[in-house]
Symmetry: C2
Subunit: 185 residues, 2 copies
């Protein structure tokens, strides 16, 4: 399973690091995708500096099984680029997992996907979402079909757990699977 | 005439400096209002560092004739504070001039004021505004009743001109004044 992590300048350091490390530990390949390959991306707190392994022009949504969108200033920078917005749209169209935290849902807004969906985000973005017509919950993790969203760094453990669970076909996936016929006694 | 300038961490340096200096040159008093009095506020480009002259708990909208909202990361930080949001609401309720540039309109969104209004903003915020139901124009300066909005640092000269013009009772104010009876020949 390959996961695309879209990242831009000023990402919230831990919102990249915590789920990224967790997914790598679980054995998943996670590619850091920036606007431009090789660009040095700095976290807003100055704790993390990472290189964009691939540029958005080098990747196709078909290459990946899931999308991770860390927060901070990164999502607002990324959504200036129409290719990033199209990339996000394609994941939702094919029903692939999208995990977004904090300001991450700004990319979902830019992709015009949030109206009528249930999600959470950073508190100021929660209000944007509500006004656009999303069903907003102020909870650590919100799952809605192929979406997993969280609010802030404090939620990262639960956010990461939920992503791993979904990739393993848990929870929501289980709930949507037709129930097994009851075993005969 | 006294102008309130609301400012938080990571403001776009020139979007504070250019209109601030222009308004001071024109003889207006401009107070820098932060979440907390005395807080040192740094511009996102590291070019400007200013002190919050007053805290939001020390000021009343009645003390001021107009409101200036520079962009950058500042508006999203400020709108976390309900007192800031109420401060903005009060200016609009009394029909006082509100001038916002770039990400500045995020505070107008948080004050639930944008639906049906005509304005501009930074390109990513333009899309947020459209989805919320505002009438968005991609122009250097947009005037709608008591609002003056601009998109980015390149627009600052025109933005500042429009603010000064409005404070002097120009343009929109002139257009809304009942026409004089025609002079007899």
């Amino acid at each position: 399973m390959k996961i695309a992590c879209v990242l831009g300048q000023g990402f919230e350091d831990s919102e990249f690091r915590v789920p990224y490390d967790r997914l790598k530990e679980e054995g998943y390949q996670v590619d850091i995708i920036g606007v431009k390959a090789g660009e040095e991306l700095k976290g807003k707190k100055g704790k993390e500096t990472v290189k964009a392994e691939k540029g958005i022009d080098q990747v196709k949504p078909d290459d990946y099984d899931a999308l991770l969108i860390p927060g901070g200033q990164s999502p607002d920078h990324l959504r200036v680029d129409k290719r990033m917005v199209e990339f996000v749209k394609a994941f939702d169209k094919s029903g692939k997992l999208i995990a977004a935290v904090c300001h991450g849902p700004q990319l979902l807004i830019a992709a015009h996907l949030v109206k009528g969906r249930t999600l959470t985000a950073w508190q100021t973005i929660q209000d944007d979402l509500q006004q656009i017509g999303a069903n907003v919950k102020d909870e650590p993790v919100v799952r809605d079909r192929n979406w997993i969203t969280s609010r802030k760094p404090d939620d990262l453990k639960q956010f990461s757990d939920a992503i791993v669970d979904a990739l393993e076909g848990g929870d929501e996936a289980r709930a949507q699977r037709p129930s097994e016929p009851a075993a005969h006694p």
